[in-house]
Amino acid sequence: MTNFHLRRTWMTAALLAAGLVVLYFPLAWMVSTALKPLSQAFDGQLIPAVPTLANFRAIFAPGSASPVLRWLGNSLLAAGASSLLVVTVDSLCAFALARLRFPGRRVVFYLIVASLMVPFIAVLIPLYEEFSGLNLLNTYWALILPYGANAFGVFLLYQFFLGVPRELEEAAMADGASRFQLWWKVFVPISIAPMVTLGLITFMNVYNDFLWPLVATTSQNMHTLTVGIALMAIGQYSTNYPLLMALTLCSVVPILLAFIFAQRQLVEGISTTGLTL
């Protein structure tokens, strides 16, 4: 009986491993193509016959006008700063919605619900005109602020705060803590996990965003990595696949490194916060 179950377990694990092979095949093919010269791009071999770094040299060549590292810095800065902004602002707001009573709370709540149904495309032009009016296009403000009003994060933390035991709060209040201290000393420490999750998810999204940074940054030095690489990849009409795959790989590597670094927190965070919803 146990043997039978053990075998089942191994079979399941083998199937899961096979699934991984299928799942990672496109990524392997990207790496493989990126290492091929154009003339062998279509040879159908996963292992390049004559691997070459020529495509990467073309991207990072000193003569190439593309400041790839600067773009990476912009992306990390924009993603990092917006994550911190979202986490801070959303936590404060969620705390008030979940734990304080004030007139207009319901209005705030429903406004946020409604806003989530509006497709971004409907607000692109208004948002652009706003930033233009404030003379903030092509600055880091434009790459950070639009992500700051993250209604999703408010809900996430709101739900989490609803589940915080009342006793914790009462003990703090009995000690004469102010509301700010209550938030800072009690609610922030116990919500580290969902806050980090929210921060990581925000980071991923800002890093991967394309349309807004494309429209909002006009100088090459202000592009994010996703935008800069997309612009390099889009020749006027035709496509050099090895070069395109090398570029794509360059845009994937930083997020891969970040993922390796933060994967435990991210996966656990989504697990726990996903269920509190």
């Binding site: 652009y128 420490p189 009409y237 496509t239």
Partner: protein
Amino acid sequence: MRQPVLAFPLLLGALWLTAGASPLPAARAKPAATKAAAATFSFWNSGPDLSTLVKGFNRAYAGKYAIHYRNIPYANETEIVNSALSAHHGPTLMEESLTPSAPYAVEGVEVPILPLLKMAGIDPARDFPASMWNRTTVNKVHYVAPVDALPTVLFYNKALFKAAGLNPNTPPVNQATFVRDAKKLTVRAKGQWGYVQEPAWPNPFLFPSLLAQFGGREANPATRKILFDSPAGLAALTFEHNTIFKWHVSPLNASNGEAHNLFVKGKNAMEMTGAYDYPIYQKALGNHLGMAVLPVIGHRPADFLGQNYWWVFKNPGLTPAVRKAVAAWFGYYYHHSLLLAKEGTIPVWLPTLKNPAFRRIAGMPVIARAVDTGVLNPLIPNWGTTTSTYLYANISLVLEGKSSVKAGLHIAAQKMQQEMATLP
């Protein structure tokens, strides 16, 4: 537990440092170097990257004129330019393909270009090919001038020609020879095709070429009447259709870029497409690459010209000094077009086109001949880029065998005639 303690100061610090009174170069609109210049203007383009040439111009005119240059992606040009214009943040000089200039001309936000060209010492009738200058007016006024050209040409693989017993130096010149050669070049067993007709790309190059060869026109820009639904249009699309369904020299359902990929791979013997593919094909095929003017599939030589044009937006910053700066740039650009031609940008400046040094650049004589017989899209807002989506969507359905040639063109014409009424 200590992270949040850091979060606030870090956040504020980061924002202050990077976005406020920031010392970082690009964060503020105007770098210090150009402040000294008497006249500066912004220039955006979606064609080949001109940053090196712009740098040269800024150096040559240091202290006098300066250009803020931005290369924008071809695939996203309209959204970038239109959002910028809606916020009064658009460029002074814009370069895109021809028809995106039309809505701005119709709305009256462009300035006539002749005075600027004159200031640069350019006489369009003398200095530009007729095919690139005539029929580029809106309400009889010239608002745009050509920047570069991309004729439609025939690429072929000389090695495959030899293998099929064909003379690699005599590519097909008309429909009969094209079909004959394509049949010989199609070797099913090897997965080799004589020709690859994609349902989608490069029809925005090929269909107008064939249509013109059969004596047809896409539309009349003055009356906004759709004209491709004509015997010439039928003949042009029927030819494309036949390569797949009648002569079987082209695969069915080729995906986007397939003709290109198979050509690079040596599995496609002939391709009729924009000359933009020349550098990459040369790299891939080397000496085996052949390039020729399009065979005359219809009744007369003609080929569609992909193209970039520039125009100047009306804006309060367009002072006399800025106008001079723009004119100086025009002159600088055209006089450097031989240099650009060596990097693959096809010039539209007759002194360059006639220059013997230009003729010696590989491939350029063929391309120069194709420019002479070139035709342009009708100057209707965004024709060929986004307006003609109905046309190309229906052509792709026809070439997938989902619709007859006649019905496809008819429906496309009907929808587009309806669409014409909604354009500026």
